[in-house]
């Protein structure tokens, strides 16, 4: 995987940061989250032009050919700005699954569209409990005369309502296989989400015809590879969100006056801020470390990713929850942005499995 020089990285980060400052400010987020699609088509196109959507897609397929380290940095900015978009679903999870499967025909047909932002793709896998495990897959595939049909349900599918191609994992006779499905053939029920900047849907499959994707190795390994990259991206989003939320909370503590002085001068408030700084900086360290270990193909990459998964989830949740308390009444109002960050933090902490699951995995990866 190609990686950029430190200067190129900084430039990429700056340009994403500036784009999001202009087009994903609080008012933009609030407007976008109330739309049905849940993302801004114009911003999506700009992100594509900048190379962000195809960031980790190989250059041969229209992408920028960057790696986890660059992705994590960009996601820090996305998290800070509460970007509403199918980036994680399409440019990260689906694109990486296609790469990991190694189906050359599918890559050639599908990846350039993802990278250009003209096609949105998502991965349908989780069952009714929303778990990313092989056992929880509730879609079953049957073959007749060389034609595959799918039956069952995939739940909590990211941005399924916006997708024009679905990548579906299904149980076949005694293995998990990957399929490409036309969303026009399935029943897609958008789900009301606590995080209004998120889009989830439930997909019903009833004898739907599907194109089987070839895999150069076990399909489940490919899923793990895609999930690992998605976890790194999510960790970056959480770390960036935590840092931004702490920034505006500290700014408020400097300007809000009670008892004749800034509330941030009270140790009761100041000490909360200091504790949150430890959380948010630790999240940044964990997310960047996971990205670097994955980029290096290190033996301990899995453990580094598990660590980032729960450390960043917990940090984002704690920073956003405490932020509301530190603000007081103003952050209990709908018009204040603090609850938008809390909602995102709570969503991110469940999206690919809860922190407790990653703590358990971390221990297993350490040999316990």
């Amino acid at each position: 995987m190609a990686t950029l020089s430190p200067e190129e990285r900084a430039a990429l980060r700056d340009s994403v940061s500036r784009l999001l400052a202009d087009h994903s400010a609080e008012a933009d987020v609030r407007r976008t989250m109330e739309t049905e699609a849940g993302y801004d088509a114009e911003l999506w196109r700009k992100l594509a032009d900048m190379g962000v959507i195809g960031l980790v897609i190989e250059e041969a397929y229209g992408g920028a050919g960057a790696g986890p380290v660059e992705l994590e940095l960009v996601m820090e900015e996305a998290g800070a700005a509460l970007l509403c978009s199918p980036l994680l679903a399409s440019g990260v999870l689906a694109a990486e699954l296609l790469r990991a499967l190694g189906d050359e025909d599918a890559k050639t047909r599908l990846l350039p569209g993802i990278a250009a932002g003209t096609s949105i793709m998502t991965v349908a896998m989780t069952g009714p409990r929303g778990e990313w495990t092989e056992d929880s897959i509730e879609v079953h595939a049957t073959e007749q005369d060389g034609a595959w049909r799918l039956d069952g349900v995939a739940d909590y599918v990211l941005h399924a309502q916006n997708a024009d191609v679905l990548l579906v994992l299904a149980h076949a006779a005694n293995e998990v296989l990957a399929f490409e499905v036309d969303p026009a053939l399935v029943q897609i029920k958008p789900l009301p989400t606590f995080d209004h900047t998120l889009r989830l849907a439930r997909i019903g499959f009833a004898g739907v015809s599907a194109r089987r994707l070839n895999a150069t190795g076990p399909v489940w390994d490919a899923v793990q590879q895609a999930l690992n990259l998605a976890l790194v991206a999510l960790a970056g989003e959480q770390a960036g969100g935590a840092r931004r939320c702490l920034e505006f909370t500290v700014d408020y503590a400097k300007s809000r006056i009670q008892f004749g002085r800034a509330i941030g001068s009270f140790q009761a408030v100041k000490h909360m801020a200091a504790d949150l700084l430890l959380e948010s900086e630790s999240a940044i360290s964990a997310a960047r470390n996971a990205a670097q270990r994955l980029a290096d193909g290190a033996d301990d990459a899995d453990a580094a990713i598990s660590l980032a998964a729960f450390a960043c989830a917990d940090a984002f949740a704690q920073v956003t929850a405490t932020s509301i308390q530190m603000h007081g009444g103003i952050a209990f109002t709908w018009v204040h942005p603090a609850h938008l960050y809390l909602r995102r933090a709570r969503a991110d902490a469940q999206l690919f499995g809860p922190p407790s699951e990653y703590r358990e995995r971390y221990l297993e990866q350490l040999g316990a």
Partner: protein, 407 residues
């Protein structure tokens, strides 16, 4: 990171190597027991350090009139690397020797001439006379007094938490020399000779049962005027210089991740303990164990990131978080160790080493969360210096110290 190696650097490297090859023959292992490790150098060590100092390898960044060579930091690191390669001590003291650095920066010519070489050779022992029973977190509230009488200061008062006081030749003392100005403005910084009748050292008994610290009672002790560092009544700023050296030495000691791919190389002690106790399968304990291991790992990652930032010339907020993080690690690890042992933690003594470990850690964790500035003071520092939050109003600010409440 790549580093340009110039010809001059290569000549320097060769010079150090040749000198070490000619002179370094190793040192006998320090005798265990007898007063604890670390305090007091052996005769062989002192002789070696004297050699290093005379050959100008001890403080290469310093000016030539004080045993230095005026080298750049990068060049000095070359010298230090060669010393560390062969395991020879004594180089890099311009980074690590708190006493000598403070003295060089702020001492009178007479005191420097008398003590710098002996300090670099570990021929004189030192201790810190900062904290007092009535001046802990509020260090500027010291009430030990130093009154000028002829060519001497007469010192009276009490100091506490002094390690090495019993063997020290000098103590770096902060004492009040003007009671009619606000607290920070009436303090002076003095090298107090410890071996005199007016200085009485009594060991403190810690909650762990150990005695690493002392109380020092000072009654009409004397220090010559030339032992004053900085100007009279500017001791607070001298102290800041000394504390900065102390912190940078502590920062040097902070360990990053053990150089990369070691996420799962050797088994974590907590996992080993739980395995031995037969509770590694307990799902609640597993969550707690994972949390504590993560705290440790995150702190190591933070430290590594801060160092990388510093190396690139950008300051990092992360360095100041280390002490707070370490407090949490120690207290939480103590809790988890106790939970793993359960009723076993009720016991103590040599037949119960696991309980001894858990119970010792439970108590000794306060060494970090109180010592060197409590967690609460540390949170103030982070809040004010890193996040830029305003200070609490101080009721003793701008008040002559004589009128300030103590106790």
């Amino acid at each position: 990171m790549t580093q340009e190696i110039s010809d001059g650097d290569e000549v320097l490297r060769e010079e150090v190597r040749a000198w070490l090859a000619d002179n370094w023959k190793g040192l006998p292992k320090p005798q265990p027991g007898a007063g604890g490790a670390g305090w007091g150098a052996s005769a062989e060590q002192k002789a070696w350090l004297r050699k290093v100092v005379e050959a100008r390898w001890a403080v290469t960044r310093w000016p030539t009139e004080w045993y230095g060579r005026g080298l750049s930091d990068a060049q000095a690191r070359i010298v230090e690397r060669e010393f560390s390669k062969v395991g020879a001590p004594g180089a890099g003291q311009d980074r690590t020797n708190l006493w000598a650095n403070t003295l060089l920066a702020k001492g009178t010519p007479a005191l420097k001439a008398r003590l710098i070489a002996p300090l670099l050779c570990s021929e004189v022992g030192m201790c810190l006379l900062y904290s007092e029973p009535g001046a802990g977190s509020d260090l500027a509230g010291v009430r030990t007094r130093a009154d000028r009488k002829g060519e001497n200061f007469i010192v009276n008062g009490q100091k506490v938490w002094t390690s090495g006081a019993a063997t020290a030749d000098y103590g770096m003392l902060i004492a009040r020399t003007d009671w009619d100005v606000p607290k920070h403005m009436g303090i002076s910084f003095i090298f107090l000779p410890m071996k005199q009748p007016g200085v009485e050292v009594r060991p403190l008994h810690q909650i762990t049962g150990e005695s690493h610290f002392n109380e020092v009672f000072i009654t009409d002790a004397t220090a010559p005027v030339e032992n004053l560092l900085g100007e009279l009544n500017t001791g607070w700023s001298v102290l800041q210089t000394a504390l900065a050296y102390e912190r940078s030495v502590m920062g040097e000691g902070a360990r990053g991740p053990r150089s990369g791919a070691l996420e799962a190389k050797s088994e974590e002690p907590l996992i080993a303990l739980a395995r031995e106790a037969g509770v590694l399968g307990d799902p609640v304990l597993r969550q707690d164990i994972a949390r504590v291991i993560a705290y440790k790992r995150l702190n190591a990652l933070n430290t590594a990131r801060a160092k990388a930032d510093l190396a690139q010339g950008t300051s990092s907020p992360v360095m100041s978080l280390g002490k707070l993080a370490m407090s949490r690690i120690l207290h939480e690890e103590a809790k988890v160790r106790t939970a793993i042992l359960g009723a076993g933690s009720l016991l103590e003594g040599p037949d119960h080493p696991r309980a001894e470990d858990a119970n010792f850690l439970t108590l000794n964790a306060y060494f970090t969360s109180i010592g060197g500035g409590t967690d609460q003071i540390q949170r103030n520092i982070i809040g004010e210096r890193v996040l830029g939050l305003p200070k609490e109003p101080e009721v003793d600010r701008d008040v002559p110290f004589r009128q300030v409440r103590g106790g």
